[in-house]
């Protein structure tokens, strides 16, 4: 039986995503966790591409990989002395946590498998950037503006929070 190449690629990418997520979850070293996140984010971006969401994939790479991840790494470095990196990723209650996660996953898979999902008439692969751009400035203008404001607020908030208290 012949397996199409795109299927193989999908599984490969999915493996990368899940595997690196597992490292994120189970690593004792927070730096490893943080770096593994890169694999997850990248993998998800790849999945986006498979799903024909080129714009989203680009955004994912730009913001997640380029922004958030760097931010996290900075935070890790700022809050830990390099020397004690090993012991900083404490985990408590692994077993109940695992149980909860497993139960949750089980139910999710059960739901996913058992549901008769709606199907689109045709599955199209077209460039979406223009469409999305139009929608942002059309139907979704208001959320878009609000998002801008939220980002601004987040920016200011982050600065306010992280700057040193001025002693009075």
């Amino acid at each position: 039986m012949e397996i199409p190449i795109n299927v193989l690629v999908f599984y490969l990418v999915a493996l990368v995503v899940v595997g690196s997520a597992c490292i994120v979850a189970f690593s004792r070293n927070i730096v490893h966790s943080a770096f593994s996140l890169l694999g997850t984010f990248g993998g998800v971006a790849a999945l986006y591409v498979f799903l024909g969401a080129d714009f989203v994939a680009a955004v994912q790479v730009l913001i997640y990989v380029g922004g958030i991840l760097v931010l996290i790494l900075f935070a890790v470095m700022l809050t830990h002395r390099i020397s004690d990196i090993q012991i900083t990723n404490r985990t408590v209650g692994r077993i109940p946590g695992l149980a909860a996660g497993a139960v949750f996953l089980g139910i999710l898979v059960y739901a996913i498998a058992g549901t008769d999902w709606a199907k689109a008439k045709e599955v199209a692969f077209e460039p979406t950037t223009a469409v999305i751009g139009n929608l942002f400035l059309g139907d979704y203008l208001l959320p878009f503006q609000i998002a801008a404001v939220v980002l601004l607020v987040a920016l200011i908030g982050a600065i306010t929070l992280s700057r040193k208290e001025i002693k009075e």
Binding site: V7, V24, L37, I132, L135, K164
Partner: protein, 110 residues
């Protein structure tokens, strides 16, 4: 056997959903078990990613429209601001307590 192989080979909506479900569960696991504030943020990122993946998958397979992708963009935006604010809080806490273990910072409730 062949049925299963065929099922595996015919990559469709459910496959993506399962991947996203696994991400979600791992995220949940992280948030449930980690005591390190930054780790918890990592878990949240995983969860957000899984949600985004879901949106895009649905948009591709179920609706055929791009609305889902737009939501994903919003989610990413939210994730960015959340990370910024969250990490800023973590830094602030670190300055105050010299640790970011969430158990050590319980005095917040008073």
């Amino acid at each position: 056997m062949a049925e299963y192989v065929a099922l595996l080979a015919d990559v469709g909506l459910k496959h993506y959903l399962v991947v996203s479900g696994i991400l979600f569960a791992l995220g949940i696991y992280i948030v449930l078990t980690r005591r390190n504030a930054i780790s918890i943020l990592l878990g949240v990122e995983l969860i957000l990613n899984s949600a985004g993946l879901n949106y895009v998958a649905f948009s591709h397979f179920s609706t055929g429209q791009v609305d889902g992708q737009i939501y994903t963009v919003f989610i990413i935006m939210l994730a960015a601001s959340e990370a910024a604010i969250g990490l800023a809080i973590v830094l602030a806490i670190y300055q105050l307590f010299a640790t970011i273990d969430v158990e050590a910072t319980e005095t917040l409730k008073d």
